[in-house]
């Protein structure tokens, strides 16, 4: 199997995009974690005992739904496809837990029994609390801090969680799809198989995203990154819409990682002109130049920050809306609400497919825009004279 250099580079980039996410995968969105903490906490104790849902008051139902949605938004150590409420049985499969705590500890997450039991490994005890692993004793005691967060020691966590599985799956899928596509072009100019679907998307990223924003001369270098990021986000967004209950791009650690890549690519490919504009803005008074330095430096940071928040918030919001609407069926439990909210959920889900594409596009587009800003040359002078049609117009 011979691979073309560029395609190999693309897929390698995708792998590298995944690798650091492993490190972040278990740290949760603390922003909504804090407020969720109080809401979930009240019901968390009742998790072990399984009461019949029909006997709950509306307030209790609301709490349960809230807890369920919060649980879905988070990463977890196993795949739980569904749970039998009456027997308390979970259907799904466990994933490996990898901890570094005085040496490597590898065990199956089934030892936690879905967070209900203490796992014992080589004389060490671990407990799972709100999808995080803490060190504990044989009874599973957790010392709660002031804000309701446990103060127990946390071992370094490199577990293959649900999100990590989804990302590895995406990376492998991308590798297979794009190498197959590359092989297809060796036989002739017409793509075969999955390439027929992917070619328009690749061309779209090139013609609509890279070319107008980065410019004809320099865009080739960044195509690998832009295509990787586009397909990585797109596939993960679409996986998130399946009933597997995976929420990867709605996890702020992962979007932060992606945004960090855009930031690094932008800063390391920036030219003299870009740094000149940051540290010594031309055509303004000297005092203003000094005042502008911190503002410009902050400006480089807010751009990836906005990228991070945008993707995370959009995908999370979508998941919350879909799940809340579904929860309303079980809240009302009558013949009118069932079909009505089913229809509404279907409608929102279709919109979510659009959002999945749109957010992948927007992330790539803005990445290209920021990179384009960093690599452009002398557009100030050229705008007055010698501005030609084929020059890139940078917004």
């Amino acid at each position: 199997m011979v691979l073309s250099g560029k395609l190999l580079k693309n897929t390698l980039t995708a792998f590298f995009a995944v690798m650091p996410s492993l490190l972040f995968a278990n740290q949760h969105a603390d922003a909504n974690h804090a407020e969720a903490e109080t809401a979930v906490h009240a019901t968390a104790e009742g998790h072990g005992e399984h009461i019949a849902v029909g006997e709950l008051t509306p307030d209790q139902k609301k709490e349960r739904n809230k807890e369920f949605i919060q649980h879905h938004l988070k990463d977890s150590y196993d795949f739980t496809l569904f749970t039998d409420e009456t027997t308390g049985e979970h259907f799904g499969f466990p994933l490996p837990v990898i901890l570094i705590d005085n040496g490597l500890k590898v065990f199956s997450s089934s030892k936690f029994h879905h967070g209900e039991e203490v796992a014992e490994v080589d004389g060490n005890y671990y407990i799972q609390h709100h999808s995080k692993i803490y060190k504990t004793d044989a009874e599973g005691t957790l010392t709660m801090g002031e804000h309701g967060h446990p103060e127990n020691a946390m071992p370094l966590d490199f577990s293959i969680t649900k999100n990590v599985v989804a990302m590895l799956f995406t990376a492998i899928l991308m590798f297979l799809l794009f190498t197959a596509m590359a092989r297809g072009y060796k036989k002739g100019p017409i793509p075969t198989g999955a390439g027929r679907v992917l070619e328009p998307l690749v061309l779209f990223v090139r013609d609509e995203v890279a070319l107008p924003n980065i410019g004809e001369k320099k865009y080739r270098k960044f195509m690998g990154y832009l295509l990787s990021v586009f397909f990585f986000i797109l596939i993960l967004n679409l996986i998130g819409l399946t009933p597997l209950g995976i929420n990867v791009t709605g996890n702020i650690a992962i979007t932060a990682c992606l945004a960090l890549f855009t930031y690094l690519v932008t800063q390391f490919s920036a030219n003299k002109e870009y740094w000149h504009h940051i540290f010594w803005m031309p055509d303004v008074p000297v005092l203003m130049k000094i005042a502008l330095i911190p503002i410009e430096i902050l400006g480089t940071l807010t751009k990836p920050f906005a990228l991070m928040i945008r993707l995370y918030a959009n995908i999370s919001a979508g998941h919350i809306v879909v799940m809340s609407l579904l929860a309303l069926i079980f809240f009302f439990k009558n013949w009118v609400a069932g079909p009505a909210f089913f229809g509404l959920t279907l409608f929102i889900s279709v919109i979510e497919v659009l959002v999945a594409f749109l957010q992948a596009f927007v992330f790539t587009m803005l990445s290209a825009l920021f990179i384009g800003m960093a690599v452009q040359d002398h557009h100030h002078e050229e705008d007055h004279d010698g501005h030609t049609e084929d020059e890139p117009i940078i917004i």
């Binding site: 922003a31 909504n32 609509e208 107008p212 920050f305 906005a306 990228l307 928040i309 945008r310 918030a313 959009n314 749109l358 596009f361 927007v362 587009m365 803005l366 825009l369 917004i395």
Partner: protein, 63 residues
């Protein structure tokens, strides 16, 4: 009296809604005037909408 965060969230949504409406409306006007430039206008519209959305979400989280 302390104003609850949810009021802030509501204000953010009002602001974002007005902003998005303005962008969408102007884009529609522009496309109606120059239908051949629809593609370029749409791209620019999405960029501005995305930027606005970023600000709105940041404010929502702060609220």
């Amino acid at each position: 009296m302390e104003i609850p965060g949810i009021v802030g969230a509501g204000l953010v949504v009002i602001g974002a809604g007005l902003g998005l409406g303005k962008i969408g409306g102007s884009a529609m006007d522009a496309i109606a005037r120059q239908p051949e430039a629809a593609g370029k206008i749409q791209t620019a519209m999405i960029i501005i909408a995305a930027l606005l959305e970023g600000v709105a979400f940041a404010a929502l989280f702060a609220a």
